[in-house]
Symmetry: C2
Subunit: 303 residues, 2 copies
């Protein structure tokens, strides 16, 4: 049975912008984040404290966090790859953190240059410190539905890394279709295994990329299984730099339209999201990647 209310976890400023070839000014990032909170988004992944040489698009993470005008009731998580990143994040005033590993050894190796086991050990002190400080903590499981190096990913691999991450003490796992290859049967298969392994639906966020147009189908499938936390990126940013024009993260506006149409509450205003999306599209100098950004809403959607 579909839930009557869901969380929308906005990843645009981080996952969206990190893949864009056009650099965005710090002032514009801060304005974008303001527009997102204006739209009613209450969880906005703000930036990443990975090495600035690895992701130059987010090299201003310290400045973004220091200058951020926080709104009451809004969570601003940041990515931290290790203890050094955690130190930078703490110095910049972060109070919600995300670590990230993968469901396959090859993807972990390529993306974070660690084995899965090494990444868990690297995150252990980070998550311990976050918990000690009362921070909210999330862990990404990338390539959970398909891996560019290994192909199909057995659900057992997702379960194993999920267990290890939950044992570290994170509040939420983001089970991620990084490649954007999953369909509904994959969602049922992977979430079925994760659920059977005893990880509660409320500890799971779903992170779908819309690369092959299946993100909304997957959201609806996950909702029907009782999951109710969904990642999205305003403007649909986050496409692969290797596939120009390819769709990226599920666009927040596309998700909001569907949820409105289905009468599922989420607290986000479609027009305000579209305004934020347009703002960022202008800064990036290209049309919006989202369906809604091109077509606009429809009067028939629930206000």
């Amino acid at each position: 049975m579909a839930p009557s209310e869901v969380r929308i976890y906005e990843v645009g400023p981080r996952d969206g912008l990190q893949a864009e070839s056009t650099g965005v000014e710090t002032d514009d990032k801060l304005r974008f984040i303001q527009l997102l909170s204006n739209a009613g988004l209450r969880e906005i992944e703000t930036t990443s404290f990975v090495s600035p040489t690895a992701i130059p698009q987010l090299a201003d993470a310290d400045e973004v966090m220091r200058r951020l005008e926080r709104r009451v009731g809004v969570r601003y998580p940041v990515l931290v790859p290790n203890q050094r990143g955690m130190e930078r994040a703490l110095a910049a005033g972060a109070d919600a953190v995300c670590v990230f590993t993968a469901a396959t050894e090859s993807y972990a190796r390529h993306n974070i240059n660690m084995s899965i086991g090494e990444s868990i050990e690297a995150f252990r002190p980070v998550v311990a410190e976050a918990r000690q400080r009362g921070f909210w903590a999330r862990a990404y499981v990338s390539a959970a539905f398909g891996c560019p190096y290994e192909g199909e990913v057995p659900e057992r691999a997702v379960v194993d890394v999920s267990h290890a991450l939950m044992e570290l003490g994170v509040d939420e796992l983001a089970i991620s279709d990084t490649l954007g290859v999953a369909g509904p049967s994959d969602v049922r298969r992977v979430l079925g295994a994760v659920g059977e392994a005893g990880i509660a639906a409320d500890a799971i966020g779903l992170h779908f990329h819309d690369t092959r147009g299946t993100a909304l189908v997957n959201v609806v499938t996950a909702m029907s299984l009782g999951y109710r936390s969904f990642d999205a990126s305003t403007g649909g940013t986050g496409g692969s730099p290797f596939a120009p024009g390819s769709a990226g993260n599920l666009a927040t506006e596309d998700l909001v339209y569907l949820l409105d149409r289905e009468g599922v509450r989420h607290g986000v205003d479609l027009d305000a999201v579209l305004a934020a999306a347009s703002f960022m599209a202008d800064r990036l100098g290209r049309p919006l990647q989202s369906r809604l950004g091109r077509a606009g809403g429809w009067p028939g959607s629930v206000p």
Copy 2:
């Protein structure tokens, strides 16, 4: 329960091209149709015998049909608006026809300049002649999920016009989300009413536009209700001329990817569809509108 096999009804040469501002040469249309049948498509809506002044993009309907190289086992339906269109279609050698009206009076008036009742009367001799000749006949119900003039469309309106069209003797109704506004609950509501009214699922094709990214969700919802005929347009052509860049019909390649991923049989080859889509994108001088056209398939999909 989702069906193990579905029909994909290709509308690219007709619904796709009629909305494109760039004209396509007759030779290229014929080549496109050939590529579509090469891909395994067995129903290809080929052209339209509406007035050439109304839709200049398809003014070569007579030539397309006369020069068509028919493949055994492939159906090539054409749109006929009235008896005059039927005469042209017959002269050109058509043997499968589609008539089209709408679920709302305003949409019928704007689109075909008749009331719904008048359209039914106009189609009566057309469908009678088609049946007499043993032709396959289909009727479109446009704006079944939302109307640009009247807003939300009551399911009763869809049921009423569907009944009238079935009584004419058509083989199939194409219940159409012309605006691309429907979500799964709309699909359940409208198909629920149509089913309760006694119209069999096997007499229904679903025609979804992907304008707001919901087409695949709607396909999956309809499949779960036992429906198994879906319209799609190779390359995702058919966007509104009033919304440049907007997505059009559900792209055949996006549908094929999802069905492959779900293990639902359909007889169409993804790579060959992508080749046909690329061919037409070149002719139209713009990038593909489909997700798959931009991202490409994935090795993990079922061959």
